[in-house]
């Protein structure tokens, strides 16, 4: 695999790696230090990053794969459409904002406003799995797709305040028995049974575990709760085309 160090002034090398990846190949950039929009709009190929890539990582991702060995900053996977993002570290605020498809896996914890307004449409279903914990406003205005928070690392509650505020479709799975504080009364919570675990959570946890060399079965031994929009609350007047 071709490799370039962003700390060195080697624009040509970096360009050749980006074009290699854009053509469906593999490439690696090391020494990332706040450079924005890495992997942005990538349609194919696999881009490997080391260091601390900047804001807007893998924004509008269109089918390619982005692997990060390090922490991501704010607004990673923004409006991502398809493909895979795997972050072997933490992610900042507003991760996967308005995500429309594809899978995002974060080994560590994420900041505020994780997975706000994620969507699903026809065969597109956005999937976000977080190994650690999240800040407040997890899955706010969720419109589709699945968010899974595992709480494998970090301290304190698995998520912050205002979880799922204003969500009207999709599901938030939390690997805990504790219902988040101040949950809106237009949401419903249920304990996840074995069938639902196997069909709705396991496939993604299996991929998460294989990406980060963890034991999926062991992770799945714990209980999960699911948060969804309460179907009995009419939202027809509030949102078009739900």
């Amino acid at each position: 695999m071709k490799e370039a160090d962003l700390r060195k002034n080697n624009e040509e090398e970096v360009r050749s790696i980006i074009s290699e990846v854009s053509n469906g190949g593999d490439g690696m950039l090391t020494g990332c230090l706040g450079q924005r929009y890495l992997g942005c709009g990538l349609r194919s190929g696999r881009l490997y990053l080391k260091g601390t890539p900047g804001n807007g990582l893998a924004a509008y991702l269109e089918g390619g794969s982005v692997y990060v060995d390090g922490n991501a900053q704010d607004a990673a996977a923004d409006t991502m459409n398809d493909g895979l993002v795997a972050i072997k570290g933490s992610a900042g605020d507003a991760l996967s904002y308005g995500m429309r498809g594809g899978r995002v896996y974060v080994l560590g914890s994420t900041g505020y406003r994780t997975g706000v307004h994620m969507k699903a449409y026809k065969d597109r279903k956005s999937v976000l799995v977080i190994g650690g914990r999240t800040g407040s406003f997890l899955g706010e205005y969720l419109a589709g797709g699945v968010i899974i928070v595992l709480g494998l690392s970090g301290e304190g509650p698995i998520t912050g305040y205002f979880c799922g505020n204003g969500m009207y479709a999709g599901t938030i799975y939390l690997r805990t028995d504790d219902i988040p504080k101040c949950l809106s009364d237009s949401l419903s919570v249920h304990a996840v049974d074995d069938d639902e675990k196997e069909t709705s959570i396991m496939p993604f946890v299996r991929e998460f575990a294989s990406l980060f060399s963890l034991d999926a079965e062991k992770i799945m031994e714990s209980r999960f709760i699911a948060i969804e929009a309460d179907g009995s609350v009419a939202r027809g007047q509030h949102y078009a085309a739900v």
Binding site: C32, L33, G34, R36, G51, T52, G54, N55, G56, N71, Q73, D74, S90, G92, D93, G111, Y112, G135, S136, F137, G160, Y161, K181, C182
Partner: protein
């Protein structure tokens, strides 16, 4: 010309800070390299630094940094200073020519002590006496603007990108136990020398990323207590609010943070007995000092630093630790560039201050 939508402005202000709890003094070049990484967050209309512990030889004197638009302003100011203070030392602040820094005012530094009989007559303590004199100079002398006037600290700011401002002020020649830095992207106020961050009063300085929705309510509240907001930007009001709460009302920094970024009533409701009563009291008692809108701020003060987000955490803020040194920044990359392997790196939660102070052994 590019049309709206064809051009992406990726800006949003940058802040960063370094605090050595062991009192070790580090050169300004370290904070310069940190803020440089976030170049794209500012647009060249303001940059600045605050350094603490930088004037050990005059640590008991007030260090005045003053901008003058012309000679007359300097003469008038120095006449006023002579009436109220003993001037121990005065000089131009050394600068170097930097192409990107233009329209440079006269920049002077004074180390002063208040005249003892004047203090006695005024019936004020020396901090209040000095603050009132400096506010008077900034308001009354046309063309004079007091940039900072704390002890053993100073603010260096200009119109330009922060890394250019650092070159201009030869920031690498100063050593401090604490530094804050700011790169500005002014949104709704002019980019001028006085409007660059940090803003300070006595030893307290503030750098800020965000905008204050409650600005005018906060301004009217602090102006009732003798402060004057005349720098045409919102951030200065935070400095005055904190000065009022900490120095005049005797609140701790933690309590002041609970005033300016007070939790929602719904969140206070969930707390238990003592916390609930305390937070309710602070919110009711100091309601005019609640700062709404998005912000992340770093507050420098004598012997300490505080990092704080608005309660919704609408601006980014990362903290890190390595040994006895603590780092804060808008972006993690700006920490990694000067400390690649921190012991711990985390994102403080909205409305929850991180306060660091000098170790006991470091206090001289």
């Amino acid at each position: 010309m590019k049309k709206e939508g064809e051009v992406r402005i990726s800006s949003g202000c940058a802040i960063c800070g370094i605090f050595c709890r062991d009192g070790r003094r580090i050169p300004g070049s370290v904070i310069r390299e940190s803020i440089r990484v976030m170049h794209n967050r500012s647009n060249g209309l303001g940059g600045g630094f605050a350094g603490y512990g930088i004037y050990p030889q005059y640590s008991d004197k007030y260090a005045l940094h003053i901008f003058y638009s012309d000679f007359a302003a300097r003469e008038e100011t120095e006449r006023m200073l002579d009436q109220y203070f003993d001037i121990i030392n005065l000089s131009k602040i050394p600068t170097r020519q930097v192409d990107a820094i233009r329209d440079v005012p006269l920049i002077w530094r004074y180390f002063v002590s208040p005249l003892p009989h004047r203090i006695q007559d005024s019936q004020l303590d020396e901090d209040e006496y000095t603050a009132q004199a400096m506010i008077r100079i900034s308001c009354a002398v046309k063309g004079a603007y007091v940039v900072s006037y704390g002890k053993n600290m100073g603010v260096f700011k200009a119109v330009g990108y922060p890394e250019d401002v650092a070159e201009f002020y030869r920031i690498e020649e100063y050593e401090g136990y604490a530094w804050t830095a700011h790169g500005r992207y002014p949104t709704n106020t002019p980019g001028w020398w006085g409007g660059a961050h940090p803003f300070s009063i006595l030893d307290l300085s503030v750098v800020h990323n965000g905008e204050i929705s409650s600005y005018d309510a906060n301004r009217r509240a602090v102006e009732m207590y003798g402060y004057s907001c005349n720098l045409m930007t919102d951030t200065e009001v935070i400095a005055y609010i904190l000065d009022y709460l900490v120095r005049k009302q005797g609140l701790s920094y933690r309590e002041s943070a609970e005033v300016i970024a007070t939790p929602f009533w719904s969140t206070i409701e969930m707390k238990d007995g003592y916390d609930k009563a305390r937070l309710s009291y602070l919110r009711n008692m100091f309601s005019s000092f609640l700062v709404t809108g998005p912000f992340s701020i770093l507050v420098g003060f004598d012997g300490g630093m505080m990092a704080l987000n608005d309660r919704l955490k609408l601006r980014s803020l990362v903290a890190a630790e390595k040994g006895r040194t603590v780092y804060f920044s808008s972006e993690e990359a700006a920490i990694r560039v000067i400390e690649p392997e921190p012991d711990r790196i985390w994102a403080p939660r909205g409305g929850e201050p991180v306060i660091v102070t000098l170790d006991k052994e470091a206090l001289r």
